[in-house]
């Protein structure tokens, strides 16, 4: 057939994408250790995945993020990696001493993790060590809405280990918990699938830092999934920092399920990776929840950063505040899709969303879509989006006070970024990232 000839020559035909996804699924499935259990959820995810195809830009969700470069790379799963203290010493935060989990290519490293500083009752560690939690786990792990998504399902069928954080009722953990996800390059391009489950039972409180880090320029694929469950009155403050290596495809999913009166404050900052995509989904399952999410992306060269957020409100009196900012330089491409869905029951919702983009070069590109879907009538919802370069009058103002133009520009970029970074509750992390922004400009 003539038509099939021309189709094959194009990278990423439907058949090719199907075959690629199947191959990837087989690769990660083959590396699953036997003692983890969870056969049922894995087989359910496998049958879902079987009907999926590898995303193409023809799908609305992936319209601006082209993954076809991945199709040329044959990713293998990682085995054990020898990592020394020197590799991660810089990443440890003094505030989180005694509450640090180190994950290397998706597997918890017991030697480097330090968990002595956690209060009694708090369960933190590798899924493999927590067989007693198995029955409870199955109600939560992989059960969040939004799990029926191709990369989340891929993680579910093939994660080799998971970090479990379980807080019993009314336990307030004072020490912030830090999870360091290290991407280590091997001889071949590797796929790593970190998985994390956080359950904050009613009345408990936690500050969580997730730090994705890598410094290799080799091709690498990180497919991370973090599920957070906030029961009634629970409070979680979550910072997700992504600083992956320049050859990395980073696809991350954060699903937050919030019961009544719970409060979730999240900050996601992305600086690294060749291509980064963060799916951030918040589902409300009870009244009067508070959700505050802040995002920052600072990218340059040919980097691509994409944030897709969803806040689904289905109960009265919800409060949502979202602000997402992007600084785009070089030939980089930033994508933001912020969806807020207010169901009919979610009366008296108060939601606001703001997306601001700063373009620093003529070749940089921004695609944004702040999307509101509202069925309830007694709500206050507002969103806004702006795209522009630095304001010349602002630079002029600073110049008139003796600050040089390049310096003024750096100052303004710094201020733009700090509005988001200052929401991070851990002092050292905040100042390190601020320093990184200064270096970056």
């Amino acid at each position: 057939m003539t038509s099939s000839v021309s189709e094959v020559s194009v990278l990423g035909t439907a058949n090719q994408r199907d075959a690629y996804l199947k191959g990837l699924a087989q690769t990660v499935q083959a590396a699953v250790p036997e003692n983890l259990g969870l056969e049922e959820v894995r087989s359910r995810a496998a049958s879902f995945l079987n009907e999926q195809t590898f995303p193409s830009t023809r799908q609305e969700d992936w319209r601006f993020t082209d993954l076809s470069a991945m199709l040329a790379i044959d990713f293998a799963t990682a085995g054990e990696f020898s990592v020394t203290e020197a590799d991660i010493a810089e990443l440890r935060l003094p505030e989180t001493a005694g509450a640090q989990v180190v994950v290397v290519n998706g597997r918890v490293n017991r030697e480097l993790s330090q968990l002595g500083g956690l209060p009694e009752g708090a369960v933190v560690g590798s899924l493999g060590d927590r067989s007693e939690l198995q029955s409870q786990l199955s109600d939560r792990l992989t059960q969040a809405s939004g799990s029926h998504e191709v990369f989340t399902a891929l993680n579910t069928v093939g994660f080799q280990d998971a970090v479990v954080v379980w807080l019993p009722r009314n336990l307030v953990v004072e020490t912030p918990l830090q999870i360091i996800y290290l991407s280590q390059a091997g001889e071949k391009p590797l796929v790593a699938q970190p998985r994390c489950l956080v359950v904050a039972e009613s009345g408990s409180a936690l500050t969580l830092v997730e730090d994705f880090w890598g410094d290799s320029t080799a091709a690498h694929f990180t497919n991370a999934v973090t599920e957070l469950w906030l029961d009634a009155n629970a409070q979680v403050s979550h910072s997700r920092i992504e600083r992956e290596g320049a050859g990395t495809f980073h696809i991350g999913k954060t699903v937050v399920t919030q019961a009544r009166d719970s409060q979730y404050i999240g900050v996601a900052a992305g600086f690294g990776a060749k291509l980064a995509r963060h799916n951030w989904e918040i589902y409300q399952t009870g009244e009067q929840t508070t959700t505050k999410i802040y995002g920052l992306g600072a990218i340059s060269a040919t980097q691509h950063a994409d944030t897709h957020s969803l806040v689904a409100l289905s109960h009265p009196h919800g409060m949502v505040e979202q602000e997402h900012k992007a600084i785009v330089d070089g030939k980089a491409h930033s994508v933001f899709n912020g969806r807020m869905a207010v169901a009919q029951k979610a009366q008296l919702t108060n939601a606001s969303q703001l997306n601001r983009n700063l373009l620093l070069s003529d070749t940089a590109r921004v695609d944004t879509k702040p999307q509101l879907e509202i069925v309830a009538d007694n709500v206050k919802c507002a969103h806004g989006a702006t795209v522009s370069q630095l304001q010349s009058d602002e630079i002029f103002y600073l110049q008139s006070r003796g600050i040089s133009a390049p310096q003024a520009q750096r100052l303004l970029i710094y201020a733009f970024a700090m509005e988001i970074l200052e929401k991070i509750p851990v002092e050292t992390l905040r100042s390190r990232l601020a320093e990184a922004i200064v270096q970056w400009t």
């Binding site: 609305e60 009919q344 009366q347 983009n357 373009l359 620093l360 070069s361 003529d362 070749t363 940089a364 590109r365 921004v366 695609d367 944004t368 879509k369 702040p370 999307q371 509101l372 879907e373 509202i374 069925v375 309830a376 009538d377 007694n378 709500v379 206050k380 919802c381 507002a382 969103h383 806004g384 989006a385 702006t386 795209v387 522009s388 370069q389």
Partner: protein
């Protein structure tokens, strides 16, 4: 009070009558033969048949779009009558006296008097009944200043070169599914040509009426404004009440050359179906303006109150440097109506500017979506866009959605988008009640205030009509 809000709506659709007139309709269905037949009936030049056949063949390869936020049963394209014209119409109308009196009566009833003495002061009207244009008023007076205003069939006979030059240049035949269908079967519409440095001496207007219950209406409007010219154009539409759904797939193309300006206003009041969603028009329309010249300007103003489903995105392609695109819209949905409407502003040239003001009002079980695209190309240095879309919800079963796409490829561009959703609050109504104003009047005042930014852009007579129309449409909705 909340119960009475819901009961305020049921104002009957007063344009729902049918005119009993003998029609010359072709059999149902669509095929190459039908396309040829339409072309032959209209005695079109050869390039037109070629155009239609190309569009038809393209259409066969296309799929109906699935992305709009609307739901409807599959349309049977073979069950539609693609051409229907009143039989008694003479070939060429010398004056209005020759028009079938029933037809004149119909338009009289719609409030569009065509007879010369009664017609709207200083507005030229082209009246389109099902598939053909019935009459165009003030033609001679317009011709004095060189303005061509006639039906597109007439233009194809008398100015084929002009039509050939511009038809399909803004909306290519394969632009989308419904545009391809329209390009294949369009029957009539208006053609406007404003010569160089001419300010059109009066407002132009087209009135569309669907009468036949089985026919679709596929009209095509083409407006060309030569450099330095300007024109204001109004469009109105109604249809009888039928239990079945009729398809209306129109195309409007605007071309503005250097320093030209086109104002295009629509008050759309097709039959919307009954409160259970039975019947009504499917209004799937493609409208696009091309600001081809420097300093040109195209402004769309629309008041969308009718149709069971509205799917339309009047757009501006800003190619000329310093060109300006504007979009002002009020979309009202009630009962089971669905609207997925908005605009596209494509900035290509330098210092191009666009403004989008969209007001959506949804009541009862209706669904109202704003979908817009603002695209700044890599060469659009200094481009500027401001968008604002506000939604108002009346009743807790209606929905309002916004899908604004913003794509920027130039760092000197400034793009701003704002949106909000609100309702008419009990406290607002209470405030009015304190001052002795009934809830009905209060609601109508609040809504007219909400829409004011848009109504201000409408020509005077239209603005008053639109205000009244909204009040009628929303009667019994609030409480």
């Amino acid at each position: 009070m909340s119960a009475s809000v819901q009961t305020l709506v049921s104002q009957p659709y007063k344009y729902g009558f049918t005119t009993d007139i003998e029609a010359d309709a072709i059999p149902r269905g669509l095929s190459e033969d039908v396309v040829r037949m339409i072309s032959a009936k209209k005695n079109e030049p050869a390039f037109m048949l070629e155009f239609r056949l190309k569009a038809y063949r393209k259409w066969l390869t296309m799929k109906e779009p699935a992305w709009p936020n609307v739901k409807y049963p599959p349309i049977d394209y073979q069950n539609i009558v693609y051409y229907s014209a009143p039989k008694t119409q003479p070939k060429k109308l010398g004056s209005l006296d020759e028009v079938d009196p029933t037809m004149l009566e119909t338009f009289e009833k719609l409030g569009i008097p065509l007879s010369e003495q009664k017609r709207l002061a200083n507005v030229a009207v082209d009246a389109i009944f099902d598939s053909v244009s019935i009459a165009t008023t003030y033609k001679e007076k317009l011709a004095e200043s060189g303005v061509i205003f006639c039906s597109i069939s007439e233009a194809l006979q008398e100015h084929p070169d002009l039509v050939e030059k511009y038809l399909g240049t803004v909306i290519p035949i394969g632009d989308n599914y419904f545009a391809a269908l329209n390009s294949a079967v369009f029957s009539d519409g208006s053609f406007v040509y404003i010569p160089k440095d001419t300010k059109c001496p009066m407002d132009l207007s087209t009135y569309f009426r669907i009468n036949n219950g089985d026919s679709g209406q596929f009209e095509r409007t083409l407006i060309v404004a030569e450099s330095g010219s300007s024109v204001t154009y109004l469009e109105g539409c109604t249809a009888p009440m039928y239990d079945s759904n009729q398809l209306h797939a129109a195309i409007v193309e605007l071309v503005a050359m250097d320093d030209a300006s086109i104002n295009y206003s629509t008050v759309q009041n097709w039959y919307a179906g009954d409160e259970n969603g039975k019947g009504g028009i499917y209004n799937f329309v493609t409208k696009r303006g091309l600001c081809a010249g420097r300093n040109s300007k195209i402004s769309w103003t629309q008041v969308e109150t009718g149709s069971a489903i509205t799917w339309k995105y009047p757009s501006c392609v800003l190619v000329g440097d310093n060109s300006v695109g504007e979009f002002y819209s009020v979309a009202l949905t009630n009962n089971m109506q669905q609207a997925d409407t908005g605009t596209k502003m494509v900035h290509v040239g330098k210092n191009t500017r666009s403004t989008i003001i969209s007001k959506g009002i949804s009541a009862a079980n209706s669904k109202n979506s704003y979908r817009g695209l603002v695209k700044i190309g890599p060469k659009a240095i200094g481009a500027r866009n401001y968008s604002q879309c506000d939604s108002m919800l009346i009743g807790d079963t209606s929905s309002a959605n916004t899908f604004p796409y913003i794509q920027v490829q130039n760092s000197t561009a400034q793009v701003e988008h704002e949106a909000s959703t609100s309702k008419i609050g009990e406290d607002q109504l209470f405030y009015f009640a304190q001052r002795g104003i009934s809830p009905e009047d209060a609601v109508s005042m609040i809504i007219s205030g909400f829409c004011r930014d848009v109504f201000n852009k409408l020509p005077m007579e239209f603005a008053a009509e639109a205000d009244k129309l909204l009040a009628l449409k929303l009667e019994n909705t609030v409480g």
